[in-house]
């Protein structure tokens, strides 16, 4: 099917060579997709803004200023101030550091775990499949809420500094949340391994590792990219959920999630749009951009489209 799947052991050195040019090829193709490039641009811009922007702000100390409460955007505070007179622009940028890191990290973690376990289950079948899928079945029946609170209580008990708690919780969540993706990957695997090109791979006597990583995984990369980009928004929002349960960042440290959460009632929503528009727009722009970029990436990396 795909050109590179016909390679034999003998041609391996060449294969490597070809792969690097393949990478260049993909890059060139990606550059042609203007939408994807602009998506990537926005993502880079958000990162630069959030990680470098605060250095240019005079309000980084987040000093409380009762005289400047809830001011609409003006010349000294470009995006206005919040209920404690803190500069919203600065807070949005500082919040972005945490939200972006957490969003990406948690997404990568769950996708890796889900893909790996799903692939193993779908490829090896038999006992490995049985064990992995039954554990997945069990995990899927467990409600998340008590888990979160138990995690919270444990972390609090162990006196883990609040700044690190969120990352540990993220890790735990990925461990709990892999079954859905694993099932999906397994399903694809089950279907792929019966396809002609895999039969060819078997006939050629390829090793498992090669079949798995060389032929099967590239075929599910598009699916993974879709799932990963779909979930990044959720991951960014999930940070605010964790903060909400006292498992994430403690106030006064801002995150996009907890900033937007500050306006979840009709009165603030109507009267102080500058409280929720900047963080909302940041999430909005970042998630759209990542999705569009992922979409472009998917098209480029899909082995079936290389013809």
């Amino acid at each position: 099917m795909a050109a590179d799947s016909k390679l034999t052991k003998l041609q391996r050195p060449q294969a490597k060579l070809q792969k690097s040019s393949l990478f260049r090829q993909s890059l060139r193709k990606l550059m042609h997709n203007k939408l994807a490039v602009s998506g990537f641009g926005v993502v880079v811009f958000m990162f630069v803004l959030c990680f470098i922007g605060p250095f240019f702000s005079p309000y980084t100390d987040n000093k409380i200023n009762m005289a400047m409460m809830n001011k609409a955007p003006n010349l000294t505070h470009w995006l206005g101030t919040d209920a404690l007179g803190r500069d919203i622009l600065t807070r949005v940028m500082q919040a972005g550091r945490i939200s972006l890191t957490v969003g990406l990290a948690s997404m990568v973690l769950s996708v890796l775990l889900g893909a790996l376990l799903g692939a193993i289950a779908g490829y090896y079948r038999g006992l490995a499949d049985q064990i992995i899928m039954r554990v997945a079945d069990l995990l899927m029946t467990i409600p998340g809420l008590p888990l979160l609170f138990i995690f919270g209580a444990l972390l609090s008990e162990w006196k883990i500094p609040t700044d690190y708690r969120m990352y540990i919780v993220m890790l735990m969540l990925s461990i709990v949340n892999w079954p859905g993706l694993a099932r999906m990957v397994r399903g694809q695997m089950l279907s792929l391994r019966e396809r002609e090109f895999m039969q060819a791979a078997v006939v050629l006597g390829l090793r498992d590792r090669r079949k798995l990583f060389g032929h099967l995984l590239p075929n599910i990369v598009p699916l993974l990219i879709v799932m990963a980009t779909l979930n990044i928004g959720g991951a960014i929002l999930s940070e605010s959920v964790l903060s909400f349960f006292g498992l994430g960042v403690m106030p006064p440290t801002p995150t996009w999630g907890n900033m937007i959460d500050a306006a979840n009632n009709m009165i603030d929503f109507q009267d102080h749009p500058w409280l929720w528009i900047p963080p909302g727009l940041s999430i909005f722009a970042t998630v759209i951009a990542i999705n569009i970029f992922g979409d472009g990436l998917r098209d480029v990396l899909d082995p079936k489209q290389k013809r």
Partner: protein, 587 residues
Amino acid sequence: MRKSTILLSSLLLVGSLLLTACSNNSNTNNAAATDNSATVTAAADGATGSAASSSPAPVPAGALSEPYTATDLSKLPAVAQNRTDTIIVGLTDPSGAFTPYFQESGYDGNVSSLLYASLVTVDEKGVPAPELAESWDVSEDQLTYTFHLHKDLKFSDGSPLTADDVAFTWTIQYDKAYDGGSSLPTLNVKGGQAYKEGKATTIEGIKVIDPQTISVTLEKPNATALVVLGSNVLSKAYYGKDYKFGQLEYIKKLHEKPLGDGPYKLEKFIPGQEVRLVANENYFKGKPKTEHFIYKTSEGDVWQFLETGEVDYASFSATDENIEKLKALGYVNILPYTPSTYGYMQVNLKHEQLKDKLVRQALMYGLDRQSIYVDATQGAGAIANIPASPISWAYTEEGINPYKYDPEKAKQLLDEAGWAVGANGIREKDGKPFSIHYLGSKSKNTDIFIAVAKENFAALGIDFQPEVFADFNSLVSKVEGGDYDLVSFSTSMLTDPADGFMQFFDGEITDYENPKFLELYNKALATSDIEERKAVYKELYQLFNDELPILFTSYKKTVYAYNGRIQNLSVSPFIGLAGSLPEWTLK
């Protein structure tokens, strides 16, 4: 993967629900509608706690001290205009357990307070006043209470209400299977314990003298007994029909079919949506003036329901901005209101650093409470310095230290207590750094507190470690585990001034030992004379204000906004709208 996203995003709003949920347990009877969530500082915050103003020139705090009358009733939405004999009020979450003494949720208490009348009610100052009982006598030794009921009292089905019903109501609360939150069992009615243990078939201290007269004898005097005894009355013929000692399960089946004697009776309960009430023609003060009354279940933000005319009455935090917004609606009357509660921080007296009175005083001076509770909430709060609500008859400011924000004084006190500034700017004593581990419930007010306190404590040289809990149960468990220095709470509704000290007796605070406190506390309860009690409480408040076994924080301020067509509305801090509701009419 899909599942995990759904899980996480669905958890987003969960916390606010938890906060409202946690208050359900705490209030039993007599709670004020929509504002009875008074257990945690956070709880009352909800949707209305937004502290904000967009008006260019801020109005001075506490802008509304007088009731405000609607200016333009023609703006009233058509939905509300069309209701002629129905009033709708929002209520967070009635669950359907409408039997007094057997309900777990304060919201059910709101409903049952309209379905059942009390023997004794309280006036707007919290002083006992007659209701079903036209009078009562208290014996010389403060142990025996005799209630004289009105003649011809009837339940809503027309059956007579007599002293037997009262005796039955008191008796079943001493049943060994009784699992409700009533405080009657703590009054120690004579013979109550024997009944509970199955050693007696009746309670010795309860005597029915004639159908209109009943007396009860306590083992120990208690000034709160009158109000506790004088609560709702259950019909013996209805609720006692299947009663056997040790078996109260059957009452659960009657929860949704209440038989009361209050101004309204239940027409229909639609779970999660409405509680429909209809006027009771057998109400002893006469049938209420408005035929239908509906409690509409509405979680969180009621603003849009008021704005679209779906509810007639709602409560909001008294921020200048909320008041402005309500005035702009034009068709609502606004009533300022201070709930009968106070906010405080419980201090972990087991910790060496906080055992020192000077340190506790330093914390009071060093916290900018004006900024946290008044300025940042735009006037929706006031500073508390004693364990009583400003509307209580016992409230006083005489001889009370207001602990005005004074960081210099705080530093001086800390120096005096032996906490010297160490190398990294953090105070130390015996090589131990001064660190404060604070627990709070997740809310906007807590966020404000933490932001300001962090700055304040840093200025004093104290390391501040806040921890926030979205779930009240988790917070309390943490407190019970003793792993904290300070934790924010708010009292539930206080009727008697003695209630303001409850946390020292119900097991929450066990480490404050001061013989003078106990002596004064008991002295205040040993008499029913209000002037006498006032004097004792003044002494108690001064003691607490100086000793600071808890750190006093704030009073909440709210406003009630209601449809301008409603006449004769008033809200009592103690019995909510139940008192005036029978008089409400629609213009």
